[in-house]
Symmetry: C2
Subunit: 330 residues, 2 copies
């Protein structure tokens, strides 16, 4: 994704809305999800988010491995509303393709249904569109919308984030649903079946976007979580920045976690500089939680793989919102 074009689009959307805001809308956190007053109940809000799985669909289509993308999508959406602590209520999918193959469509939707069920989330509906001319025959796109609910008093409180707090990171298993255009450029189709790290490149590329729902709930039961971020397009640099107040900076020490082999491989092949690594790729961190330093150890023991990956520091006026110190030797 052309990040500059994306940012300009967002700026233009703001202009389009030009201050118009429905009375039911509430302030969100970091733009991961929209909040809407629950009708008849001032203590709760509905939380909604729409997302897709990006060009990961091209790899799935090429390899005819359709099972995972539905789970990728639902898990991505679950994580997006989890940033404001919402529990899923229902999900709707949008599947569009050049020529509808009912068996393939059912396999994709089965993935959505499985992930929904694991979150006690209704698969409430969806749309399957056959659009020759927009998609080539075997190509498809998959997007979805989740609606959840949150108690307003359970919303994270990013304004309470303060210097000295720890940042707990939950491990990524691969690219999740971002960086696939880069990945396809660096790892050509011919190599996908080749051996890589005990499996194949295809396996590594299609590794499923995990849901952090249970891990986050477990951490919240033992530690005070002040702010969270889902590390998607924009990487640590943009996603963490969006969820912090202006007076603090997040400082990550990459030596504190391991980068999944497929991500490391992309960095190597593309000779990616720090900006690219931490903006286009998740670099091994899928979700972050800011907790008081004194509660960081409990937080980490509550979820497998959770680690302190950085700290909150004071931020100077022109200083960056997020800094990542690369691991030694990188």
């Amino acid at each position: 994704m052309d990040v500059a074009a994306g940012n300009e689009a967002v700026a233009r959307y703001r202009e389009v809305l030009s201050g118009w805001r429905h009375a039911g809308q509430l302030e969100g956190i970091g733009g991961f999800a929209g909040l809407f007053r629950l009708p008849g109940d001032d203590s709760r809000a509905l939380v909604a988010s729409t997302d897709g799985v990006g060009t990961k669909v091209l790899i799935a289509a090429e390899l005819r491995r359709y099972g995972g993308v539905g789970r990728d999508l639902v898990n991505h959406c679950v994580n997006d509303i989890l940033v404001v602590n919402a529990a899923p209520l229902f999900f709707l999918d949008y599947l569009a393709t050049g020529r509808l193959d009912p068996i393939v469509a059912a396999e994709i939707v089965r993935g959505c249904a499985e992930a929904c069920r694991l979150h006690d989330c209704a698969l409430l509906g969806g749309e399957t569109a056959e659009m020759p001319g927009v998609y080539s025959d075997q190509h498809f796109d998959l997007a979805g919308t989740i609606v959840g609910i949150v108690e307003l008093q359970a919303l994270p409180k990013p304004h309470e984030v303060s210097p000295g707090d720890a940042i707990v990171g939950l491990p990524a298993v691969g690219l999740h649903t971002n960086g696939y255009s880069l990945a396809r450029a660096l790892i050509p189709r011919e190599e996908w079946s080749a051996a890589f790290e005990g499996a194949t490149y295809a396996d590594a590329l299609l590794a499923e976007h995990p849901s952090y729902y249970r891990d986050v709930r477990a951490i919240e039961s033992v530690a005070r979580v002040k702010s969270m971020a889902h590390i998607t397009g924009g990487g640590l640099l943009e996603n963490v920045a969006r969820t912090l107040p202006a007076n603090v900076a997040a400082v990550f020490e990459q030596s504190r976690w391991s980068v999944p082999p497929i991500v490391r491989e992309l960095v190597r092949r593309g000779d990616l500089d720090a900006q690219e690594r931490y903006r286009v790729l998740n670099m091994g961190i899928g979700f972050t939680l800011v907790v008081p330093l004194t509660e960081a150890a409990q937080a980490c023991s509550a979820a497998p793989g959770a680690k302190v990956v950085g700290w909150i520091e004071e931020r100077g006026a022109d200083a960056p919102h997020v800094v990542v110190h690369p691991a030694r030797g990188e």
Copy 2:
């Protein structure tokens, strides 16, 4: 859309869900929208629907006329949840393209925002995805999800539909958002700028999908509406059938309404038989409401263009659910 493939996909989706149903889900009517119990309030339900604008996007992209598709989409979604009498709360859009042009994206989203505002519906969020390889550079797809709310006691009661009831039709202005693959096959690109009915083919093809929200509300204020249908893909034959009990049939008299010129043109060019006309195209009816015969006149006077377009009759065991008598001479 290959109707057989579509129906097979739906059958397979059912199999995938294999009886699994979230406790919050409520029975819908005709599959236009999903219903979910409003948390904390047993008297109301959230109503959600996801849809796209089909290959109308190809005509918009080709002609670089992006203003209307956002309104098409929101109005389509509003009508879908209106079938169960829901009022819109919020909407989220999904816009995907080969190469993101922020100006184009903003024009599309502006259309969504305008239509949302007219329905006092929050534009709560959305996703803009740049997906080279899935979409060609100028192509895009646009889908959206609407969430509304309905009082359970205000849900239509299709089981009360009985022989002798009248069917009130609200006029379509063109193809709305269905039949565009057929239209592009029958009216080649070279002709789009040619004069047609005082404007151009392009104008007729891009005529905007209207919202029937205000008309339906006006009719409901003067007549008892037992069942409604939004006439989208599947036409009168499938959409009306989905919203009627098994023991009745809807009988339409096409002489009672006028078919928009662009639709008439497609029928002529494609020499479409009755099945194609009434299944692929709306044939001039955008929305139907079943009312008691004695209240049909008031109903029609409440909304401009509303007409009695058919009746409910008893249905024999093997008889079709919907019959359309063509106009004389057709």
